[in-house]
């Protein structure tokens, strides 16, 4: 099975190479223009326009068919002046697109605009996106699980063959013996054999001992792991990959979990945070020009229509994420206390690299987790051990410890110290 997929892959790759080369050979004549145009398009236009999707401005594929080049040469450098001059086509275009004024680009001269139009006409060069890349990665994943299934299958088949061979050889033996005229007693059935075995006291003792050890260790481990959710990896309503967002895209944890640095709760981002990027990023390259089904789930939950770019409040349906890290209700944990106040101490204690966020100390290498899972046991022993071992001395610039030291100095001098000075008026001291 693997061989076939490998062959298919190589055939596909060679076909792809041939077609890419021929496309390049054909398009080299106008490539200079379009290539220049692509750079300009990416730099100047893409904050509002895309080729095949409506963004702030309309989709631009086929723009040369909708308008004359003469019109576009005037419109693109300064659309507002064209509208002001009363050009009917310009006024209609302005009104049709929600009267959003397009930025003026006085720096785009005629050749530059023509380059951009050439690029829009030609579309995104296909060779720039390698469709094999994501597929190859997915293939590797399936082969690893396939190979495990394969090994199991081989073992099962081997056992079946062993059974059949055993039966066959026994049958042959019996036939030979019968031919030689020797009567053989019937084979002892397995049940009788087992019964015989259990009449042996030593064996019974040994068997019971084994049973006690096995059940005892199983029970012991079971008790220790009761309520410990290490490795818990529930299926989430959206296949959100931390590996992609935090790893490949290198977006800081705090961008989405912005509560971690200022509150008790790290916060699960609301969907408007997703939309900061996914209004524009729709991963159409990976889904044959369609919006990624996972990104569509964000749109559906928000009642967002990507065609009209409007939100429909009546269609809102909150995303029900499955909670992974769940402390018991009787345990208090504060994120900001750890990631802001104790950042340096935790970094030192856990030996984190400077480029790693402090979050990795407890949440593990999140930037490699395609699906998020609980990395640390979150048991009381785990908390206590860290609190016993972490060195918090020498925290000169830490306002929290400075306040503690100040209070201690006051106590030493015999000055009046109230609970309020020690933060006793914080609501959260009693109400949480």
């Amino acid at each position: 099975m693997r061989d076939i997929s490998m062959i298919l892959k190589s055939v596909w790759k060679s076909l792809f190479m041939i077609s890419a080369i021929s496309v390049m050979a054909v398009s080299t004549v106008s490539a200079q223009d379009a290539k220049e145009g692509r750079t300009l398009f990416k730099a100047k236009c893409t904050s509002c326009h895309a080729l095949d999707q409506k963004m702030v401005g309309p989709a631009l594929t086929g723009v040369s068919d909708r308008h004359t080049e003469e019109f576009l040469l005037k419109w693109i450098p300064n659309s507002q002046a064209l509208i002001a001059s009363g050009n009917a086509e310009a006024v209609k275009l302005f009104n049709d697109n929600g009267k959003v004024a397009m930025t003026s680009f006085p720096e785009l001269d005629e050749t530059k605009v023509k380059d951009i139009l050439a690029y829009i006409k030609e579309g995104e060069p296909k060779a720039a996106v390698d469709p094999n890349a994501p597929k190859a990665g997915a293939g590797d994943d399936t082969t690893s699980s396939l190979s495990i299934i394969g090994i199991i299958a081989i073992v099962v088949i081997a056992i079946i063959i062993l059974v059949i061979l055993g039966r066959a050889s026994k049958l042959l033996e019996r036939l030979i013996l019968q031919k030689q005229g020797i009567e053989i007693e019937e084979d002892v059935p397995l049940k009788v054999g087992v019964r015989k075995m259990f009449k042996n006291k030593k064996f019974v003792m040994f068997f019971i001992l084994c049973l006690i050890i096995a059940l005892g260790s199983w029970g012991w481990m079971g008790m220790w792991n009761t309520g410990v959710h290490t490795g818990y990896q529930p299926v989430q309503p959206i296949k959100f990959s931390h590996e992609l967002h935090a790893g490949i895209n290198q977006i800081d944890c705090q961008y989405c979990h912005n509560g971690a640095f200022k509150s008790k709760n790290a916060t699960i981002p609301s969907l408007n945070v997703c939309m900061n990027c996914h209004k524009a990023v729709q991963a159409r390259d990976n889904y044959d020009g369609e919006i990624s089904p996972e990104i569509k789930k964000i749109y559906n939950a928000l009642g967002y229509d990507p065609e009209t770019q409007q939100y429909d409040k009546s269609k809102e349906k909150p995303m029900e994420w499955v909670r992974v890290h769940n402390l018991p209700d009787f345990a208090y944990f504060n994120h900001s206390q750890h990631v802001v106040v104790a950042e340096d101490a935790i970094r030192k204690a856990k030996g984190l690299q400077p480029n790693e966020p402090v979050c990795f100390a407890c949440h593990g290498p999140v930037n490699t987790m395609e699906e998020i899972y609980q990395y640390s046991p979150l048991t009381m022993k785990w908390c206590i051990n860290c609190h016993k071992e972490t060195d918090i001395s020498g925290q000169k610039n830490n306002a929290f410890y400075a306040k503690v030291i100040e209070a201690h100095e006051k106590i030493k001098k015999g000055e009046k110290v109230t609970p309020a000075l020690l933060g006793g008026l914080e609501c959260g001291k009693c109400h949480y």
Partner: protein, 205 residues
């Protein structure tokens, strides 16, 4: 005789192997990553108070319509909430903010350091750590069309380098074009720290 006992041993071996595999399979099934495993007193893990990011039983609180996160009631505002109604998300609001809003914080090293940290977290993925529009997401072609603070031109007229503090604050609050609103992620006071740092970047410092 001897042959038949050998065959029986072989049979036993087969059964034993089968049992071992079945045992291993059952054991491995116990470690299901999709389940939380054995739990004692699950009700201690579930808060009595509403869990902000989880569904709510409609029978429990009918008016909440199934979710705990709620918008504040009409005509109320949360403690410490900074109103920004004077400068709506329009061209006029943007221009008005550009004229009359000033950074309330003094320019000092502490505020700038915090502004730099916040900028690197919330802005640099697209705008780049130097504000040159060459953030990591732009480099890997996930996003494009990000103007440089020093050399780019603003889509609402003028050059990026000339943007005033109020205009930058307005943009962070409401977003513009492909940039979304960052009001829910960044507190007003933190927005001003970012504005302070961006103004440094505009000068190329």
């Amino acid at each position: 005789m001897k042959g038949s006992t050998l065959a029986m041993n072989k049979n036993k071996f087969v059964y034993a192997a089968f049992l071992a595999i079945a045992f291993a399979a059952t054991l491995s099934a116990c470690k299901d990553k999709r389940s939380t495993g054995l739990e004692y007193a699950r009700n201690m893990y579930d808060p009595i108070a509403l869990n902000p990011d989880q569904a709510v039983d409609t029978a429990h609180v009918p008016s909440f319509k199934g979710h705990a996160a709620q918008v504040p009631p009409a005509n109320t505002k949360p403690v410490g909430f900074t109103e920004y109604d004077d400068y709506p998300n329009t061209k006029e609001g943007y221009e008005a903010a550009g004229v009359s809003m000033v950074d309330p914080l003094p320019v000092d090293t502490v505020n700038l350091a915090q502004g730099k940290h916040l900028f690197n977290v919330f802005c640099s993925p697209c705008h780049g750590e130097k504000g040159d529009g060459q953030g990591h997401l732009v480099k890997i072609e996930k996003f494009s069309g990000v103007p440089a603070y020093q050399t780019g031109s603003s889509s609402r007229g003028g050059n990026m380098v000339d943007l005033t503090a109020g205009k930058i604050y307005h943009t962070i609050t409401y977003g513009v074009n492909n940039m979304g609103s960052h009001a829910s992620q960044i507190l007003p006071i933190d927005r001003w720290k970012i504005v302070m740092y961006v103004q440094q970047l505009q000068k190329g410092q």
